[in-house]
Symmetry: C2
Subunit: 177 residues, 2 copies
DNA sequence: GCACTCATGTAAGGAGTTACATGATTAG
DNA sequence: CTAATCATGTAACTCCTTACATGAGTGC
């Protein structure tokens, strides 16, 4: 059981998902390729933490929806008590920002403008997602007892981060112009 | 040449460092263990991007200070023009925050209080470091031409992130109490 | 026709972590 | 006397990415 395994279980508590969906949804806290997800789902199924449901579809490929078992949920609950490992962030852009004096103003500007666009796009998606959550759950979002609470606070955190990245990029761009 | 290799070159442009120092300093943008750093430094030396200088010390082990060569600097400069790969962040804490409804209020509170302490500590170190930079470089920090500029903006970004993490933890703690 | 989305898998290799190994000095 | 800091390395293993593989439907 590694962190990714717990990330998958955490997503599947909310609702049953296919590997394909999980790969997308995982973006919030753990980036993983499908080539890592599919074998791990098979392992979790083998260990009794997940049960697959074959769903036949028309107009698109069939899929396997994974349902979490009570053992899976218990596994995740037990893991909650352990101290989380230190966060890891690996961001090539920051290495380039650090080395900004090596390059010309144009390249530097492009670097920061691309970063700005990237996070503007991310922010738009996040705002949309949060608006959808607000429309669907209303004041339940602020209720710690409610199942949605965890998802809400995590996306709020990401929203803040994206807003800050945008503000910081603009601050830097103002200095290099 | 992987991202870590460029991160090492970026640090060594500022000043010659030992592997031990690099492992500490790298924390800003790339987490790496010494077991990954030492072999990579040897490879970069072999490829002509670094030159080692043996420094004998009394009262502590000798060390190797790596100096970047003009080839190394050119390699880094050339890499600046390429678009950076997408940032990766892997944070077990966020998986736990997402699953907060599975646990009791006490565990949840401890989780967030530990996170808060961790980032308060980080913030203190960061503030100290930035104050030192301000004392040493003054208005040069805001000059894009100056070598220190890149280092300054990256640490400013980290400072903001830490402040925001603290504020967010307090926001969540206020809701679960 | 070409690229993209949905959908699931395997194989090979590169990146990163944990453990093994050594050893002097300093602070509690 | 125990732990931490400084200092460098290797070995074994796990984790993660890239590439290989397949295939129907949709939009341009």
């Amino acid at each position: 059981m590694n962190s990714l395994a717990y990330a998958l279980l955490a997503m599947l508590v909310r609702k049953p998902c296919s590997g394909y969906e999980l790969a997308e949804m995982l973006e919030v806290f753990w980036q993983a390729k499908h080539s890592q997800i599919y074998p791990l789902l098979a392992k979790l199924e083998h260990d009794g933490y997940l049960i697959p449901e074959n769903v036949e579809q028309t107009g698109r490929p069939n899929k396997k929806l994974y349902h979490i078992t009570s053992e899976g949920k218990e596994m995740l609950r037990a893991w909650m008590d352990k101290a989380p490992s230190v966060p890891v962030s690996r961001d090539e852009f920051l290495i380039k920002a650090y080395s900004i004096s090596l390059t010309d103003t144009d390249t530097a500007q492009r670097l920061f403008e691309d970063r700005l666009s990237y996070y503007k796009e991310k922010l738009l998606r996040r705002e949309k997602l949060i608006q959808e959550m607000e429309a669907e759950y209303g004041t339940d979002l602020k209720d710690q007892e409610h199942q949605i609470f965890g998802r809400y606070i995590v996306h709020q955190r990401k929203l803040l981060m994206e807003q800050q990245e945008i503000a910081w990029c603009r601050w830097v761009l103002a200095m290099i112009n």
